[in-house]
């Protein structure tokens, strides 16, 4: 793979990709052609696209290079060796079992999250379900609550002996306590709920950008609702579904929060527990860490290739065509009441219950199951503690700046790269696609080290500023941005861009005024996702932030280290409130332009 091949996507091999001034005469000669070749990349489009590709390539290659260097360098520092792989994957009798657990957990959670997210998105966008506003917020809350808090809430709810659901609901009703959160099912349940918003956001955008007449024509063919869903809707949304499944699968493979809190109790070890140890010990076995990451990378690459194969094999997912349409909600009719009830139930289970536990915990000095006594001792002390934290305001401000900044930068980069990948025939565009996906497998700490390594050695004033965090976040969330952007773009018929080009719009104008607004659903979804997760990014942040430039995730970590669990809960509640507010504003603003949204306010 070479960078040069990816920086010249604008060669004239696709109609849409040939920019630049053109000779008015037909002079011949290689010199002339050379001149054109040079001049073309110098157009605005050439510069912008070229710069984007370079930036993305750079963002992805720095940590990847660092990782690969450490992985394949032999212990004595000379020559290439594969020892690291032996260390990482060999020598442990449980490796196979852990790998299976990991896969099972990741597949299960991704599947559950995909199912939930898609169903929720469908109900939200395509039906006239009641309580839409409530619903939207509800679908995002599990993402906003930091994983550790969300998991803990579930422990309080569904611990086999003392869980509130078991002790307050099931035992009185049925005399047994059927819920056991410390099981693979519990892990999948919590992780699935926690990830569902990834799919939800992506699918909401995808459903919005879908011509309902495609489904209507299926209904007219006599297909029932489920058949339409199964045969038309779902296959048409395959790019979005594959994208979100891929993201969630890899994220689950990597995560240790849920398996750590829920799995270990019953001896369910996943592979990440090893990575966890590798990165905790000193000296860090970078080789082994890299070997794990490369293992994940292989899976990720297969995933990306699979998804682009699925999208390429002469299939077409363009659901926004040249004839304008309006997303039209399906009338649920009599089912409306049931769906409404389902919405409420979902809301209760995934939001009210865990967040309720969180709110309850945040009002306590220490967590204890609710009794008359504990309820009489509720206090706002924790909130006071949160708000009087020395760095609370700075951290909030920095987190906002970084979150908004990273979300914006990533989505812009991703939109352009998605364009290069999907709309041009540029050589190397698939490699670019892959490259932009690699940061997902790089552990946060390794990313932080790679960035520190590079920026400690460059004269630019980046190390020690917020900028390095921004770079780190942009790198980390690039894969997400890419998936959101490219699945949105796959839905757009190129005709809409072509008609802009024929109208005389330059590439940039087309991009800004037609493509971006048309993709706005996906872009906004990605933006919101990045905003939310960047608020809690810790693993690279904690290495790279500088004194005086704290961010919220560092604060959260400190509360945690301090042993102030209830304060942490209070902080979590504050964060949920704040982010729900931000997201609501973002969607309000987002609705101003772009594809008309449905009636979801």
């Amino acid at each position: 793979m070479s960078l040069t091949s990816t920086t010249t996507p604008t060669r004239d091999d696709g109609p849409a990709s040939s920019p630049g001034p053109e000779p008015r005469s037909r002079r011949k000669g290689p010199a002339h052609r050379l001149l054109r070749r040079i001049r073309r990349p110098l157009s605005l489009q050439g510069l912008l696209v070229g710069a984007t590709v370079i930036v993305v390539g750079y963002l992805a290659l720095v940590p990847l290079g660092y990782l690969i260097h450490d992985t394949f360098l032999s212990a004595d520092g000379s020559g290439v060796s594969l020892d690291a792989f032996a260390r990482a994957y060999g020598g442990d009798a449980h490796a196979g079992e852990m790998m299976l657990n990991s896969l099972w957990f990741a597949i299960g959670s991704a599947a559950l999250a995909l199912l939930l997210g898609t169903v929720l998105a469908y109900v939200q966008v395509r039906t006239d379900t009641p309580f839409k506003g409530l619903f939207f917020a509800a679908s995002l809350v599990p993402l906003i609550v930091p994983g550790i808090l969300y998991t803990t809430s579930w422990i309080f709810l569904a611990d086999p002996t003392t869980g509130l659901l078991n002790s307050l609901l099931f035992t009185p009703l049925s005399g047994s306590s059927p819920l056991n959160i410390y099981s693979i099912w519990g892990m999948i349940w919590v992780q699935g709920l926690h990830l569902a918003p990834v799919a939800f956001l992506l699918m909401v955008a995808a459903f919005r950008a879908m011509d309902p007449s495609l489904e209507e024509s299926a209904a007219m063919s006599g297909a029932g609702r489920l058949t339409v869903l199964r045969r038309i809707t779902v296959p048409l949304l395959r790019p979005a579904m594959v994208s979100s499944a891929l993201l969630m699968f890899i994220q689950s493979l990597e995560s240790f929060e849920v398996p750590g809190l829920l799995g270990l109790q019953n001896g369910i070890y996943v592979f990440t527990s090893r990575i966890y140890f590798v990165l905790r010990s000193y000296p860090i076995d970078y080789g082994a860490a890299g070997a794990y990451a490369i293992g994940l990378l292989v899976i990720a690459v297969i995933g990306v290739l699979l998804s682009s194969w699925l999208q390429r094999s002469s299939r077409n997912y363009q659901t926004v065509g040249g004839k304008a349409f309006r997303p039209r909600p399906v009338e649920l009719g009599r089912a409306r009441a049931f769906v409404g009830a389902g919405v409420i139930l979902y809301f209760l289970v995934t939001v009210v219950l865990p967040v309720g536990v969180l709110v309850y915990a945040s009002l306590l000095k220490y967590y204890a199951a609710p009794t008359g006594e504990t309820l009489s001792q509720l206090t706002l002390d924790n909130y006071r503690a949160v708000l009087t934290q020395p760095f609370a305001l700075t951290a909030l401000k920095n987190s906002l700046v970084l979150g908004v900044g990273a979300a914006t930068v990533v989505m812009l980069l991703a939109a352009i790269v998605a364009w290069v990948v999907l709309r041009t025939k540029a050589p190397g565009r698939r490699i670019l696609d892959l490259l932009a996906f690699t940061p997902i497998v790089i552990p946060g700490l390794v990313l932080g080290l790679a960035l520190a390594f590079v920026y400690l050695r460059t004269p630019l004033p980046i190390y020690g500023t917020l900028l390095i965090l921004l770079i780190s976040y942009c790198t980390r969330y690039l894969p997400y941005g890419m998936r959101y952007a490219s699945s949105a773009m796959a839905q757009m018929s190129p005709e809409l861009e072509e008609s802009a080009a024929v109208s005389g719009a330059s590439w940039f104008q087309t991009f800004r005024r037609v493509l971006l607004p048309l993709m706005s659903g996906g872009i906004l979804a990605g933006w919101v996702y990045i905003l939310i997760v960047s608020f809690r990014e810790l693993s690279s942040t904690i290495l790279l932030y500088s004194p005086g430039k704290e961010v919220l995730s560092v604060l959260i970590w400190e509360q945690f280290e301090n042993g102030q669990f209830t304060t942490l809960a209070a902080l979590g509640v504050c964060m949920v409130t704040l982010l729900v507010l931000l997201v609501a504003i973002a969607y309000r603003l987002g609705a101003r332009f772009g594809l008309q949204s449905d009636s979801a306010n």
């Binding site: 001896g267 020395p390 080290l449 301090n562």
Partner: protein, 346 residues
């Protein structure tokens, strides 16, 4: 947070200079140079803000030196320092963190020697080449007083293997240093390897595994779990202060369970930009800083009047060297043990 290498040599010159001075002149000299340095200090620490803030404030008050604090996990303190020093741009002047990380830095020759008078009060077990222990994280079991009747309180590490604790015990996934210390302690007591192994098997059979000491304490407070094989006493004390029904002391208020104190220490960075301030901080952490730690209900490494954190606790030596040498060995052994947790007897 960027220095040049000339600053580095200057720092080393200063360290050499101050080491050569008579002990009673050192502080004054350091204060003088610190003023030239601009009366600021860059500290990398794994103290969390509720500790770091009062401590650094006291330091600022005493010497008029402003402290910039980078707070991170001990691993990040280490990694960040390593990265910076390797790039020739030391960002930290002084460090305050876990022993293992300080040992690693010392091994890499990234730290400077300290020979101030403050060391005189420090117990020899707390002195290490190039760093000195400032506070101790003490290992003790902890339990929920509602769930563990006084009659069932453990009185030794061995007790944890008793069948009556079946299903009640929790082990933390990263506590291999505790495992190492207890094992060595038992072997030193004259137990055979087989006896030790069977004790551990018993403990494992009683246990579930969890991740995170704080989370565990939360569950302990909530009655979600009954007992933890090991938690840090300061975490338990915090919970007690909040009113949680937990303790690490038996009803008699005197624990006979040998307590292993894991040291956190202070160090000066070799190529520091502001070596004098670093020196002063080192000095401070072993003198007045110790009192601050006591105020914060932490365990200081020196004897400080009014320190109640060790009341009822019997300290035994903590094996720093062994853990540094054989970390991987203990990690693996402990990991293997955890695998059998909750299994035997089923």
């Amino acid at each position: 947070a960027v220095t040049t290498s000339s600053a580095g040599t200057k720092a080393n010159d200063f360290y050499a200079q101050i080491a050569g001075l008579p002990k009673d002149q050192q502080v004054a000299k350091a204060e003088e140079v610190a003023r030239q340095e601009g009366n600021t200090l860059s500290l990398y620490t794994s103290m969390t803000s509720d500790v770091a803030t009062p401590v650094t404030q006291a330091f600022e008050k005493k010497y008029g030196i402003k402290v910039n604090v980078f707070r991170g996990t001990s691993e990040t303190v280490l990694q960040r320092t390593l990265q910076e020093v390797q790039a020739g741009k030391a960002g930290a002047d002084a460090l305050e963190t876990n022993f293992a990380e300080l040992m690693a830095l010392a091994d890499n020759k990234f730290l400077a020697d300290f020979n101030g008078a403050a060391l005189d009060k420090v117990d020899s077990t707390a002195k290490f080449p190039q760093w000195t222990a400032t506070r101790l994280n003490v290992f003790q079991p902890a339990w929920n007083t509602d769930l563990i009747k006084p009659a069932d309180e453990p009185h030794s590490w061995e007790d944890l293997a008793l069948p009556k604790y079946k299903g009640k015990l929790t082990l933390e996934i990263s506590d291999s240093d505790w495992y190492a210390n207890v094992t060595k302690y038992w072997l030193d007591q004259g137990k055979s390897q087989a006896e030790v192994d069977s004790l551990w098997q018993g403990i494992a059979a009683n246990s579930k595994v969890a991740k995170g000491h704080v989370t565990m304490m939360q569950f302990l407070s909530a009655g979600q779990s009954a007992m933890q094989a090991m938690n840090y006493t300061y975490i338990t004390d915090h919970a007690i202060a909040a009113g949680a029904p937990v303790t690490h002391l038996p009803r008699s208020r005197v624990s006979k369970i040998p307590a292993f104190p894991r040291p956190n220490g202070v160090a000066m960075v070799k190529n520091a930009q502001r070596p004098a301030s670093a020196w002063l901080f080192y000095h401070f952490m072993l003198t007045d800083g110790q009192k601050e730690l006591v105020k914060l209900k932490l365990t200081p490494s020196t004897k400080v009047p009014g320190d109640k954190s060790l009341q009822g606790i019997t300290l035994v030596p903590f094996d720093v060297e062994g853990l540094i040498k054989d970390a991987a060995y203990w990690d693996n052994k402990y990991d293997a043990l955890l695998r059998s947790a909750g299994k035997s007897g089923k």
